[in-house]
Amino acid sequence: MNRCPRRCRSPLGQAARSLYQLVTGSLSPDSVEDEFELSTVCHRPEGLEQLQEQTKFTRKELQVLYRGFKNECPSGIVSEENFKQIYSQFFPQGDSSTYAAFLFNAFDTNHDGSVSFEDFVAGLSVILRGTVDDRLNWAFNLYDLNKDGCITKEEMLDIMKSIYDMMGKYTYPALREEAPREHVENFFQKMDRNKDGVVTIEEFIESCQKDENIMRSMQLFDNVI
């Protein structure tokens, strides 16, 4: 057995090895060690004061937010799967996983695959306490899937489809196949000033500021927390 070189992975070698183990009574190594490989990763946010500086939340608000966050995710970070699951609880009728994935990418600003409390609070701060321009910026960032500074029709179509997916099957009027595409066309008509097929950030912000509905709806976010 010892003469068998390490590289020897032939079935013969394995058979011989198992026979040896059988004869000498040694069982296969227990996978006990695997149990201790549980991830004890625990992410702690920076101090309260730092977060207060970085975001526009008050101390109390941050406390409440963190308590809720910590209760749900004791490890301190939210993975994409968790994120999708959390978000899907609000939209029982449809499939919100694609949109949740886009959201996750928008919140995960350092692109490390998980959303920590700082990311979470930073995003919320922009949306809930930021100026209109900040919010529009954030929305643009959400739509711009490859973060190249402009929204193409394909990107927008993806986003649109994911939003329509959230509605589920039972809607009134019934969802047609072309509905997202039409919506995208509308959007581009409105937003794409120079008709070059992409929407840049300036075009986006400019068009949104001219749109009354959008400006009015911005007040939505004023008293969420």
């Binding site: 109390k60 609000f90 009728q93 949109y99 939003i163 509605m167 099957k169 004023d222």
Partner: protein
């Protein structure tokens, strides 16, 4: 909704910023929910022991006592705390449920008391966490069984009263199955038992050699041949009784086919058949040889005792359930026997006058040696034979002794595993059903909310506001979120039924003139009293309309709708955790299905459903052309009033 969903709601609402630029209609304004005064610490005094917790913690589960407004009933204004006159030790577990989302079961407490506490605090037993669930269930089942046993013992004493009109057949069957119910049944039970014993004993005794006194040389003769008449009479008597019993059972059985196929009846048949076959078989020698073998089956009468003995039945069930393990044991034994028999045969081949004449002959030696019996009628003489013989006996111990505990433990493990798997499957089903119910509950709550006009700006009239106000802040915000999504995509959420109905209506030929009749109706309190379209009537209407467009059908439908169908309200805000549909929050939201009495008969049936649509209070506010395909009831304050409208 699950535990921390309330925590994430602000985040989900914030994420709606992504829909803003895409919305083609203005998004609805946020609900004017009074901002909570931050988080405060509540004091809960349970029989003197004070528990303190954040208000948010308790708010996580809005459909329990502590999470809802029900706890206000227990608020003691003087001390500023909530006082409960309950067990403080149990309360600890209840409170931990709010904190961690898992309900643990205390090991040293009575399960009944725990259940009562859960019921008081509005927690469903299914919430018990996985870690404690199995034990909880086991203890509960034990308890239930114990209580059931007590009940049964009670009942067995007086005997359950049969319905007065029970036929002879039912009474007979009951007498057969429960001999303790009446004296006659008991007598019958013992008589048959006695005769089974007599028959078995007779079978045994008739083979014992009796000394034939009549002959000069005392010849040993089996008693059966010495007293043939006596044994024949006894046999006849027994068989007559058994036949009578079998026929009676066959008559009384509720399902004769099933009875015929059951094991016990087969045993009965096998027990009495040899006698009848013997009667009809001619008394010549060749056939009677075969007939003698048939008599062996008479011994099966002993299995009839299993009706009288619970233990036998359990043994039978055990063997049946352990069949594969037994089969494996047999198989491995057979393998070993064949191997050793072959070896022994070839080892002993050379010897003359050997007993090992063939391999099958060596089987006997192998079996006797492996089971450590060692009769000694066959012994190896060569050295090789002796060596292999000793190996055979050593391995025999192993082969026999090893599988048996394995079978025993296997049996126990499989038995428990089956139970656990069934439990888990049932739990899974319940969990899935609960999730589905929660989902539909949420959807229904939102749809209901829409129907209640909660989405209109400044609802017209007191009545509507009452309905709307009774929803929790969480629900307000969640519904607002869903409404935003609707506005973004210009589609509305509906339920499955209306969706299919809409499809059906569209296929009819597009009767889309719905909302037009609505907006013409006056806005105001009276409009609220107007007809709510009963889902059932609408369904009927669509079905009728689909089948034929005849006027006569229309009038039939009107008659139906005039009947004022009442439908139970869909589960509303107290949805999710509690599986039972929560009865409506208050009278205001009590939806009844009173339909407008449609006066004009000659109306095309497809249009009549339009009449029964609920009017939208403040319907002018709707700028969009989306049609409201609502089929859930709107709040009707005075259910007695039915608005009469014409086309």
């Amino acid at each position: 909704m699950a535990a921390g969903v309330a925590t994430w709601l602000p985040f989900a609402r914030a994420a709606a910023v992504g829909w803003l630029p895409l919305a083609q209609q203005p998004l609805p304004p946020a609900p004017g929910v009074k901002a909570t005064r931050g988080d405060e610490v509540l004091v809960v005094n349970v029989s003197g022991r004070r528990f303190e917790t954040w208000k948010n913690t308790l708010d996580r589960y809005p459909d329990t006592l502590l999470g809802s407004s029900e706890k206000e009933f227990f608020y003691d204004a003087d001390s500023g705390e909530y006082f409960f006159d309950r067990d403080p030790d149990m309360f600890r577990h209840v409170l931990n449920f709010y904190r961690t989302g898992r309900l643990h079961c205390p090991r040293q407490e009575c399960i009944q008391a725990f259940d009562e506490e859960l019921a008081f605090y509005g927690l469903v037993p299914e919430l018990v966490g996985d870690c404690c669930l199995e034990e909880y269930r086991d203890r509960k089942k034990e308890n239930a069984e114990r209580l059931a046993e007590d009940e049964e013992a009670e009942q067995a004493g007086d005997g359950p009263a049969l319905p007065a009109g029970s036929s002879l057949r039912q009474r007979l069957w009951r007498a057969f199955e429960n001999p303790h119910t009446s004296t006659a049944a008991l007598v019958f039970y013992y008589v048959t038992g006695f005769f089974i014993a007599v028959s078995v004993v007779a079978n045994v005794v008739e083979t014992i050699p009796c000394r034939g006194s009549a002959r000069r040389p005392p010849r040993e003769q089996p008693c059966g041949e010495r007293f043939p008449m006596a044994f024949f009479c006894m046999d006849t008597a027994c068989v007559l009784i058994f036949t009578g019993e079998y026929l009676l059972r066959l008559f009384a059985a509720p399902s004769r086919c099933r009875f015929l196929r059951s094991v016990m009846s087969l045993i009965d048949v096998v027990a009495i058949l040899p006698y009848y076959i013997g009667l009809f078989v001619p008394k010549n020698e060749d056939v009677s040889g075969a007939f003698v073998t048939l008599r062996v089956f008479r011994v099966f009468r002993i299995f009839k005792f299993s009706r009288h003995s619970q233990g036998l039945r359990i043994l039978g069930y055990t063997l049946k359930s352990c069949a594969s393990e037994l089969g494996f044991l047999l198989f491995s034994l057979t393998m070993a026997i064949i191997i050793f028999a072959t070896v022994m045969f070839y080892a002993e081949k050379g010897t003359n006058k050997t007993n090992f004449t063939s391999i099958p002959a060596a089987f006997w030696y192998t079996i006797v040696t492996m089971t450590t019996l060692g009769y000694g009628d066959m012994v190896p003489s060569t050295i090789a034979g002796k060596i292999f013989g000793s190996i055979c006996s050593l391995s025999g111990v192993l082969v026999i002794a090893l599988p048996v505990p394995v079978i025993v433990s296997n049996f126990s493990r499989i038995y428990h595993q089956n139970q656990r798997a069934d439990k888990r499957r049932a739990q899974q089903k319940v969990r899935l059903a609960r999730i589905r119910l929660a989902k539909s509950g949420t959807t229904n709550a939102f749809l209901q909310y829409k129907q209640n006009g909660g989405l209109e700006d400044s609802g017209s009239g007191e009545e509507q506001a009452l309905c709307v106000r009774n929803r929790s802040a969480f629900e307000h915000q969640h519904h607002h979120l869903l409404h935003c999504l609707e506005k973004t995509t210009c589609h509305e959420f509906t339920d499955e039924l209306t969706f299919s109905e809409a499809l059906g209506a569209v296929s009819l030929g597009g009767h889309t003139s719905r909302s037009t009749s609505m907006s013409s109706q006056p806005v105001g309190p009276s409009s609220l009293l107007s007809s709510c379209c009963p889902r059932r009537a609408k369904r009927r209407a669509i079905r009728l309309a689909n089948s034929t467009a005849s006027v006569s059908r229309g009038s039939m439908q009107e008659l139906d709708t005039l009947a004022g169908l009442r439908r139970s309200p869909a589960p509303q805000s107290r949805s999710s955790l509690n599986a039972k549909p929560h009865d409506s929050l208050d009278l205001n939201c009590d939806s009844r299905d009173f339909v407008a009495a449609i006066i004009s008969i000659p109306t095309p049936p497809a249009n009549t459903p339009d009449e029964s649509q609920p009017s939208s209070p403040g319907g002018g506010g709707r700028t969009s052309s989306t049609l409201r395909n609502s089929s859930l009831g709107t709040p009707c304050l005075l259910p007695e009033t039915v608005k009469i409208s014409s086309l």
